[in-house]
Symmetry: C2
Subunit: 169 residues, 2 copies
DNA sequence: GATTTTATGTCAGTCATGTTGACATATTTA
DNA sequence: TAAATATGTCAACATGACTGACATAAAATC
């Protein structure tokens, strides 16, 4: 039923139009929502002369204390030069500490300091308010759908290895 | 039921933990999905020496042919100086044309040329493949939930007017 | 034990995209 | 006529990415 081939041309065109329209609206919603969501923490970060790159590093170090530099590079998918600058600043500001890996002493394990954790918590609290409200208003089924679609939008397969990023010449 | 105040402390803490965990996973999904989604068109844009800013302008001009510069600024929420640079390049490359507004001759109405529309279509086709697959795999209910949550994440109220952007000193 | 690979850091330069501030011009509105 | 609006433009700067090249220490392999 509703076999697209069985539909007369004008209606099929109309269906295709709606399909494209629906997808474009999805793309636009995605763009606007993401922009509004991430821009929220900027003011707080700017107070300490930081930007979004600092936020992302703080976030993922807080999420996995003891994460190595290489792992963090893999998560963020940026070059080590980019990350290095950010990490250096976070360490200089006393928000992050690096310790030598206990098994592999080449590794630098990253952890938030107390003040780093405090800043991350303040940033998370801001974003939590927004996302919690969106989740609450939309309801659990909608949240499940949100997660499901986001999962489908992710890259599948190998993350494209980038020069200078991780274990690559 | 499930009044949080009636739950003994350890379980309440556990629930709160799950709640935070759930929200963090949502934030991360959002970050990863958005990054993967928008990065896809970069290679094609780079061939012509363009970036994401060009893509966004092309996209919204294609979406509303005859859009004014001021309207586009309102959609993108960037400064006119940023947009100006991008528009100038798009016009120079023959992808966009500007025509004087028929009623208000101060306005510059923006439209895609044939090759501009062709490029936009190529870019949209790339993204359509990804989002259509995600929508199809997730199902209509999930898509509805996705849209619902995204709507809730948007800024409410006045878009924060930014200096130099639109009608402001 | 010597060699290679890996994890990390660093210097130097470039690019894309955003910002602020100031000012110019044409056109519409009051 | 005067003020407000839509647009454009010059200049300077910040952020966060990038490439390429090279350095060091430690682990893994031959």
């Amino acid at each position: 039923m509703t076999d697209i081939k069985s539909i007369p041309a004008p209606q099929a065109a109309s269906l295709l139009f709606l399909r494209e329209e629906e997808l474009r609206e999805g793309i636009e919603s995605f763009f606007f929502a993401y922009r509004d969501f991430v821009s929220e923490a900027d003011a707080l970060l700017a107070e300490s002369g930081m930007g979004r790159a600092h936020h992302r590093a703080l976030y993922f170090i807080g999420r996995k204390p003891g994460i190595t530099v290489g792992e963090l590079l893999g998560v963020l998918r940026i070059t080590k030069q980019s990350l290095s600058r950010v990490l250096k600043e976070l360490v200089a500001m006393g928000l992050v500490v690096q310790t030598q890996g206990p098994e592999d002493r080449r590794q630098r394990l990253l952890r938030l300091t107390q003040s780093g954790a405090a800043l991350e918590a303040r940033l998370f609290t801001m974003q939590r308010a927004r996302i919690a409200k969106a989740f609450r208003d939309a309801g659990p089924d909608a949240v499940a759908g949100f997660r499901k679609v986001l999962g489908g939008l992710r890259d599948r397969g190998d993350p494209p290895k980038r020069q200078n990023a991780g274990a690559r010449s």
